[in-house]
């Protein structure tokens, strides 16, 4: 999928913000934050998904 362009600007980095490698992990997605549902096994993008799932490949590995 193409990247969506967002015209609204990012905020400036607050004064004194600091973190190792410039990244702070704060929260996580919990199991409750997701629902088991069934994808329709139809279309080219599903087939790509099935290929990745069956060969245990990631998106980046798939890109190569």
């Amino acid at each position: 999928m193409e990247a969506t362009v967002i015209p609204l600007p990012l905020p400036a980095l607050p004064e004194g913000w600091e973190a190792e490698n410039n990244f702070k992990a704060i929260g996580k997605i919990t199991q409750e934050g997701a629902t088991q549902r069934t994808l329709e096994p139809v279309g080219p993008y599903f087939l790509a998904h099935a290929r990745r799932a069956r060969h245990k490949r990631t998106f980046s590995e798939d890109d190569r």
Partner: protein, 577 residues
Amino acid sequence: MSDSGAKSGPEPSERTTIGITFGNSNSSIAYLVDDKPEVIANEDGDRQIPTILSYVDGEEYYGQQAKNFLVRNPQNTVAYFRDFLGKEFKAIDPTHNHASSHPQESGETVSFTIKDKAGEEEAASTLAVSEVATRYLRRLVSAATEYLGKKVTSAVITIPTNFNDKQKAALVAAAAAADLEVLQLISEPVAAVLAYDARPEAKIEDKVIVVAELGGTRSDVAVVASRGGMYTVLATVHDYEFAGVALDKVLMDHFAKDFMKKNSGAADPRENARNLAKLRLEAEATKRALSLGANASFSVESLADGIDFASTINRLRYETIARAVFEGLNRLVESAVKKAGLDVLDVDEVILSGGTSHTPRIAANLGNIFPQKTRILAPATDVTAINPSELQARGAALQASLIQDYEAEDIDQSTHAAVTTVPHVANAIGVISLNEAGEEVFVPVVQPETAVPARRTVHVSAPNGGDVLIKVVEGNTHIKVTKPEPKVKEDESKAAKVEDADDSDEDDSDFSDEEEEEEKREKVWKIGSTLAEAALKGVKKGGKVEVSITVGSDLSVIVTAREVGGKGGVRGTLTSA
């Protein structure tokens, strides 16, 4: 991997594949020409082929020819049988079979008694519904084979979303008996979505689509989350009351009364089976003509008592007498949206599929229940709409071409629950941007109901450059309702009230003043809990930041950010809970 003797379908290299939609009323066949799906006309020139078989003197007829025999040979004509496959007699609804061969109980299944052999002395045959389906499918396959000049071996067939395993197995078996390999059964609404998404100009976007599958004997609505070209059905509803035959009925009653009014003393054509069949066929033709023109004619030779009858009807009149059916369809669509836990404001597109979707009023009515920005994809509301009668067969043909090179076993594995059933994020995941007033707003990157693993990328502007904050948060929507300003009550002028035409004397709220002061409803994003913060330093003035969020199948999150066209950037991971 070769698993000897599992399935005995043709080798992938030896397949000729088509897409089939097999309805209770009509069926269609399609195949791909230069990557473009085309619906094939059968030898009668029909692309919508009535799902009917008829036997006359041992000769088998199908499609439109069989449909015409509903007048002269109803007892040896089988119609409306698709939904009986894989069902017990007590579970079927025989309503639509009154005017043709009647379904009967036969063991675990349903059968029809038909005189399918020539000769007075030949006894009638009892045909199980599976045999009827096989014979009919054989005709479809042979029409496709003739058209393509190659023996068709395999197909993808569309089915309603509420087909159970028994019904699926019965359909696959009926096809196998017709020497047709079923590569896959796919659901009707998803076939319709695929037909649209496969158009060269289509952009793959995250959107919520309502597919209204409006046929002859049933209307099925599905709400589909379309996420990066993958589809998840969020809710479905089914209705057997408000569909094409209900509209036929409205016109049959109208013209029967019209006939009796103009021929005083003449019999009611609805009281004689043969006259009723004529009335029905012509009413349907008139109905179809009303989808195109503002007026349509109705004409039947010897409608009753040997009296020929010709009349006309205009679309406005039709829309008035059919209003109850149209309103039923509106309610059905609304109930599907509600069942999905969504609001009409969440719906980006409404795809109208099935023959009844040609009806302009139905499309216009749906346009009124959804917001302006929702695209209503029907011939009457969108010039780019695909013929609703062709969507399913096209989708099936597209899927058939995608999988025709796979071994049957590979197809089974890829469609297995281990691959298809996956977590879908409940909330959106996005970043914080600033609006014109400088306030923090949520910008969705990964939409709710996206299946994982998923990766989405956005480019966010950083007009001032410098050091920017990428704050990754969860978000969800709510509907904000703004009550209208209380306005000075105007005197309702009685004189302005126009008397309605004869049969709509009840107050029509659509025309009341209240409409203008309707409350304003809008969908707004709410910022939820923070997942991560990242800093990107030294962005150049007028730059753009590419933020990519990848959610793993274990719900872990990888965030990357870098300046578009720049080097380096940040990357961080959130482990799953």
